[in-house]
Amino acid sequence: MQLRALAHARSGDKGDTANIGLIARTPKHYPLLVREVTAARVARHFRGMITGPVERYELPNLHALNFLLHGALDGGGTVSLKTDAQGKVFSTALLRMEVLVPR
């Protein structure tokens, strides 16, 4: 199943790092996000699109995960040549990920 069915997200920037906050659409989906959407899987998802590592933080109180994608913005802010220089829509690119949902 595509992640967009289970979660919504918002992203932003800090220098050359994009952050993606991934939020379960309902609390019962949160454990599934924790299990499926690991830092390693996110790094694979964005392979070739980011130059640095991916970090993950958990916010169980908000049923959310926060990812930091380092080296994601071609230098970031004013330096970047990208349309999405501030990583505003990186979040939606993560929602393309396919995850296994138990029946």
């Binding site: 919504h8 997200a9 918002r10 992203s11 932003g12 920037d13 800090k14 220098g15 050359d16 790092t17 952050n19 906050g21 939020i23 659409r25 998802h45 964005f46 070739g48 699109m49 933080y57 958990e58 916010l59 169980p60 109180n61 908000l62 049923h63 959310a64 926060n66 930091l68 071609d74 230098g75 970031g76 802010g77 004013t78 330096v79 040549l81 990208k82 349309t83 999405d84 829509v89 979040s91 939606t92 690119a93 393309r96």
Partner: protein, 457 residues
């Protein structure tokens, strides 16, 4: 001291909706209007303006806005906190003062001016004293770019905002005060919070984080159920109603559009987030993993149980330095074979740049309509063969101006001497743009002395 205080967001960045502050003041009762103007590189743009004219260097839009609002603010006893002062808060305050006198409000307005964030003139002294100002992201020492630094400002916290309010300011105009400090300051002042009440300070900081981007907390740029968010044309900007115990509710004026929901507030909470357990500001360290959210009725979200820890002994410093030049050119290719034509044009252009011997740090090609936002993830999902049009967007970056300048002359020729069915060049030749880059660093708190002055109009 009051039981609750209402703080309304009026601007989430310089360039935000000009009607929002007016609607916040007139749409219902509020106590404070908070307006954030400063993004990471705004300070360097303002520094450039100030170097051309010593009377500039602040968010100019703020002055006509205050001229429009001042009579209403006085009548409704609404106070203002804003970092519109940029690199010249005194000049900003003088301009607002002049507007007040023009309105016949002489003797009725007190403006608080917060300075002390400016470090540009002290950089060498600070470096000599061992403040290396290493880049927080790359760990490089500032000496790498010292001769190209254009601005340097420490992020001040809520402290000087509280002091200005305590001394009677109706309008507090600051330089580089944190976005969150502009909301936390009024809370500390109105609710009597002490500067070491870490849980309360963290709550006020999180309130500030929620409303600092304006309508992004009340239905704007909100992905969840976005098509069902009502009346964005009339969107209500967020308002925080805070109690002395640190709990607060996020809401908006009745009769406005948008939506305040747990899901929407959560999206804003994770926006530009680093380590959520350690959101570091000059005032405290806020723990976003302690937040409890609950929907308390239509367009009303309660935020409670926030925990905080003592502030660190450092302040963040925002430096800007001259980096180089860039330019971006675009052309639109039409069906049939729109994507293939745009790809062919990209190959032709790159070959010509190479044949000219031009050297760039980066050449970046995006095909808008295909891969500009999602890169290979979107291409992997399959590119439709009959796309009606594709925009070729190609950018270059270099330390020197000459190759970037030459690049800007290589776009237009493609209209007649490249692949067919091309249009969309009405904007003319792209202009080389100077790149001012951001350099985040830390400094010992004791090196920075915030200063509060009052201007009685």
């Amino acid at each position: 001291m009051t039981a609750t205080v209402r703080i309304a967001a009026g601007q989430g960045f310089w360039g935000d909706w000009l009607e929002a502050p007016y609607r916040q003041v007139t749409g219902g009762p509020i106590d404070y209007l908070m307006m954030d103007y400063l993004a990471e590189v705004t300070m360097s743009i303002l520094q450039k303006q100030k170097s051309r004219d010593p009377g500039l260097g602040y968010a100019k839009d703020f002055v006509p806005l205050m001229e429009r609002l001042l009579p209403l603010l006085l009548q409704r006893r609404v106070k203002v906190t804003s970092n519109a002062g940029g690199v010249n808060p005194r000049a900003c305050a003088e301009a607002v003062g002049a507007a007040a006198r023009k309105l016949g409000l002489a003797g009725k307005v007190t403006i608080g001016v917060v300075t002390g964030d400016e470090l540009l003139g002290r950089l060498d002294e600070l470096l000599a004293r061992g403040q290396a100002l290493r880049n927080l992201d790359t760990d490089r020492p500032l000496s790498d770019v010292r001769d190209r630094v254009l601005s340097a400002n420490a992020y001040l916290g809520a402290g000087p905002v509280v002091e200005a309010l305590r001394r009677g300011a109706d309008i507090v105009i600051t330089g580089r005060v944190t976005d969150t400090g502009l909301t936390l300051g009024p809370m500390m002042h109105a609710l009597g919070w002490r500067p070491d009440a870490w849980d309360l300070l963290a709550a006020g900081t999180i309130a500030g984080h929620i409303i600092e981007c304006g309508a992004q907390a009340s239905g704007g740029n909100c992905l969840v159920d976005w098509e069902r968010i009502p009346d964005l044309a009339n969107v209500g900007y967020p308002i925080v109603e805070a109690s002395a115990d640190g709990t607060f509710e996020v809401t908006k004026h009745p009769g406005t559009g948008g939506r305040v929901s747990v899901a929407g507030v959560t999206e804003q909470l994770v926006y530009e987030m680093g380590n959520p357990a350690e959101y570091i500001t000059p005032d405290c360290v806020a723990d976003f993993t302690s937040i409890r959210l609950a929907q308390r009725g239509k367009d009303r979200v309660r935020v409670s149980s926030v925990r905080g820890r003592p502030a660190t002994d450092k302040l963040k410093v925002s430096l800007a330095y001259f980096y180089g030049y860039k330019a971006v050119g675009t052309l639109v290719y039409a069906w049939p074979d729109a994507y293939r034509k745009a790809q062919a044009a990209d190959r032709v252009l790159r070959q010509r740049l190479a044949d000219l011997g031009l050297r760039f740090e980066t050449i970046l090609t995006e095909f808008v309509g295909v891969d500009a936002t999602h890169g290979r993830l979107a291409r992997g999902a399959g590119v439709a063969a009959d796309l009606p049009e594709v925009q070729l967007r190609i950018g270059v970056r270099a330390r020197d101006q000459a190759p970037v300048e030459r690049f800007t002359r290589e776009i237009a020729p493609l209209i007649l001497n490249g692949p067919p069915s091309v249009t969309g060049f009405a904007g003319g030749r792209p202009k080389p743009e100077e790149i001012v880059a951001y350099w985040p660093a830390l400094i010992d708190k004791r090196e920075v002395q915030p200063c509060v002055e009052l201007l009685r109009v």
